[in-house]
Amino acid sequence: MTTPPIVELYGVTKSFGAFTVLNDIDLKIADGEILTLLGPSGCGKTTLMRIVAGFEQSTHGRVLLRGVDVSNQPPERRPVNMVFQRYALFPHLDVFDNVAFGLRLKKKSKSEIKKTVTHMLELVQLGEYANRWITELSGGQAQRVALARALVNEPSVLLLDEPLAALDLKIRHHMLAELKRIHVETGTTFIYVTHDQDEATILSDRIVLMNKGAIEQIGTPEEMYARPQSLFCAKFLGETNILSGSVISAEGDTTYVDIGAGAAKVAMNGVPVGSQVSLAVRPEAIRLDKVREVAGKENFNFVDGVIQDVVFMGSRVVYNIRTPINLIKYQETRPVHGISLERGDEVRASWAADAAVLLTH
């Protein structure tokens, strides 16, 4: 990080009574990035965001915005704005007055408010809707008003709590693209909460994967996908094949693992012999051959099995292979010349030593 962080969390812990919801969270967020808090339901994403916004006080720890400790400031004094999951638009005001709400509180002049709000409504493509009542808006439009109402205050950080959860799939994809465009145009730092891994990977510069009130892993979407550091992360982002076994030996940068159906060779080191481990191999990193064509060719990194079914998913094809140790998924982009393997074929699933990730927990 070259620019100083815009948000810093140190040891943030939150308990409701005896129940600890967030446990010792440290996090630095760079100016201008889109950071996603991703994790299963109840892992503490909303709570963490509400602590940044000032709606909850952390039990321990500090929150810094632009280097200033705001832990004890009420929400109205913090230079952050939030897009609420259920929008929370003011029903007694029209679209214009909703968006102007923050500016009026800052005692901006009438002409300036008019100019800024109009510009903001154009940014979210609601220029025509300034005088509509909130009740006359569709879900997607309400979403844009909520976005405009927050952004018009030029917050240091924009907090978005599952902003697309209430929209249907098609609008959701459209709004994701819109959010990206608006992010580029405004340069505002986004903290985005979701439990949808697709949203997270499409949108984020970095993902913070949370689990049970703690940070599991932080990284770019690609890092998280390619090099998960835990079984939880490997399973949460995308689909993966998990092969469990134990380490039999290690030589230099290579570790050998007994996976029950032979041995696997992984380009990783540092795990003691005898450890119980998991190998994670993405479905697209697998290679599939007919057993009779490749028999005897390899010594490592393969499992033989029978194709149980072939799932055609448009641009890609997924094969589920029943093997003695596990159900293995293999995925390829649709072969232009037709699918040559079919149900019942005896196949060998194999993978390169550097395609597998060795996980110890």
């Binding site: 929400p75 952050v80 509180l105």
Partner: protein, 259 residues
């Protein structure tokens, strides 16, 4: 069979009112059929009667004052209750509503004793205090039916946009629940306007409209009582309808916006 019962029931309930209303427009003092013709003479009579006008005015003042005090105290209580949770909320909710079950007689007597002990002479003021006690549980309950559906997220949104707690109340909470408050205030006025039993105890030398009608009754049943009753009745019914409709409509809107 049951249908016939309902008809009889409704007739039983409304026939007296219908008859009173009819005879309040009777052109002769006779209170029995045959009906001889329409006239407004009894209305003219009561409107030129200083006693009637005075007690009507008293009722309006007491109703307005009681409704005003009830509105302020009751709104705060209802908003407070909406922010409570679990058991505390259940207990306070019950405590706030329980006085509805108290007999007016009991409330009247205890107030008379209280006023005597603190040396407060009975006047319109003491009637107002009594009416506030009487109307406030109804008011709170009416407000709660709407406030329970108030999205506290709206207040958080206002805070988030830079409004302190007080401004959040003025700019967001109050405007949104204002129509419901108005409706509940009208209901409180109507309740106070009609109140009789407690008023008997705490009124001292002052009369309100229900007290006046009652005292007129004691002297003789005359057609101008009909006119006074019909006036009082239609005012109450009208107000209750208006207030009730506002509250009902606001509540439905709030529930609708939730879904």
């Amino acid at each position: 069979m049951l249908r016939a019962y309902i008809w009889i029931y409704v007739a039983f309930l409304y026939a007296p009112m219908a008859i009173i209303t009819l005879f309040s427009f009777h052109s002769s003092p006779s209170l029995t059929f045959p009906f001889e013709g329409f006239s407004l003479r009894w209305y003219e009579k009561i409107f030129s009667d200083a006693n009637f006008m005075h007690s009507l005015w008293n009722s309006v003042i007491v109703g307005a004052a009681a409704a005003a005090v009830t509105t302020v105290l009751g709104s705060l209580a209802a908003l407070g209750l909406a922010r409570m949770k679990g058991k505390t909320k259940a207990v306070f909710g019950l405590l706030a509503f329980a006085p509805v079950g108290l007999p007016g007689l009991f409330l009247g007597i205890s107030l008379v004793i209280l006023y005597a002990q603190i040396g407060l002479p009975r006047s319109l003021f003491t009637i107002v205090i009594a009416h506030v006690l009487f109307t406030i549980p109804f008011f709170i309950e009416t407000m709660r039916s709407r406030v329970e559906y108030f999205d506290l997220g709206l207040e958080e949104a206002a805070r988030d946009l830079g409004a302190g707690p007080l401004r959040t109340f003025w700019l967001v909470t109050l405007p949104i629940i204002a129509p419901t408050i108005a409706g509940a205030a009208i209901l409180a006025f109507a309740l106070s306007f009609d109140e009789f039993i407690i008023t008997v105890f705490v009124s001292g030398n002052e009369t309100t409209l229900p007290l006046l009608i009652w005292s007129m009754m004691r002297r003789a049943v005359s057609p101008d009582i009909n006119a006074a009753s019909v006036l009082s009745l239609s005012l109450s019914i009208g107000l209750i309808l208006i207030g009730g409709l506002i509250v009902w409509y606001q509540r439905r809107k709030a529930i609708g916006s939730r879904a």
